[in-house]
Symmetry: none
Subunit: 183 residues, 2 copies
DNA sequence: GCAAATTAATGATTTATTCAAG
DNA sequence: CTTGAATAAATCATTAATTTGC
């Protein structure tokens, strides 16, 4: 393979490490002098130009923000926008029983800091764009205000209820072997 | 001991199949509702709790990414780095102390120079730009009078419209299987 | 052929980061 | 400036494979 015309700069792990460290240290929009220094430093590990550094910080900052926006700040916009035209329709209810599947999930698990349960909520922030269709927002229960063992539902269910291609294929499932539950 | 306290969950092949299929469909960080559904579904094939589902996606995602990073990320650096892969220079070297007259190419960028002198910016607090308006603060070298530093932004013709290409791993599909049979 | 020891997978915890709000 | 929320990365710990010796 011929030397790629290197249309783009490809930071080496070392360079990336340095940049990330700087970013984490608070550097976000380095000025000319800083960029010069950074570039000089990074040059020890590979080719790099000032513009690369500049762009890196710009992109990194923007991307971080975008990510966070998706994760936490989305409802913000949603609240302002009219709900989905045909929003409330949790089609994925093939077998979700009316009863809460969750009950004693996070009770005796956490021995020290049971904050672990808090992590359950989570949103659907996929920073990576896989094949596209994916997330399935289904909030049939509609409330979870009951006695939730874990307090995950911090995110509102205002998400666009999108049908999901969730694994329905296993509905029939087979009786394959495997005796897992041995334990 | 007849009863092994089975301290941890062992997914059955069916469960694993479902989970993998979901992952392939794009599910990566299911929220509470999704976890409920998934758990309910998986429960038909064996014991499982919400936390198991949560952990599974976390681990799976992390490991897929790690794998790709290890595999692809490495050669990337190699291709561009023929010099010394491991230089004795510690990467953890932030920027140099405030010793210089900043005003090099930038005219009036930001007040970061001040922060830098003190402690590298005050973390988060200044890049609170409104969504969307992500203009670059630093417009370097508006004038071509002095080439003290790089001058990339002078001409927009060579602007890399793409990010630096860091951390762009799209994990889709998965091959490693956890022994889906046997036993 | 089986069982103990070793290695590899992977489930479960902890830690460190990020940005946003108060 | 401090706190809140939510991961993702790093790490720990346990189960399952695999290897090795008899």
């Amino acid at each position: 393979m011929p030397q790629t015309p290197s249309t783009r700069w490809c930071p080496t792990p070392e360079q990336l490490m340095i940049l990330e460290e700087m970013y984490r240290s608070g550097v976000r929009t380095p000025n000319a002098s800083q960029i010069q220094q950074i570039t000089a430093h990074l040059s020890l590990y590979g080719k790099v130009e000032g513009k690369n550094v500049f762009y890196w910080f710009q992109n990194h900052k923007a991307r971080e923000r975008q990510k966070l926006r998706r994760r936490l700040g989305w409802q913000h916009q949603m609240l302002h926008q009219s709900e989905g035209p045909s929003s409330p329709t949790p089609p994925l209810h093939h077998q979700t029983p009316p009863t809460f599947p969750y009950q004693g999930c996070f009770h005796e698990v956490s021995s020290q800091g049971m904050n672990l349960a808090g992590k359950l909520d989570a949103s659907q922030g996929q920073e990576e764009e896989p094949t596209g269709s994916n997330v399935m927002y289904a909030q049939p229960c509609g409330s979870t205000d009951g006695p939730p063992c874990w307090r995950p539902l911090r995110t509102l269910d205002l998400f666009p209820t999108k049908s999901t291609g969730m694994g329905d294929e296993c509905s029939s499932s087979k009786s394959s072997s495997c005796s897992t539950s041995t334990n």
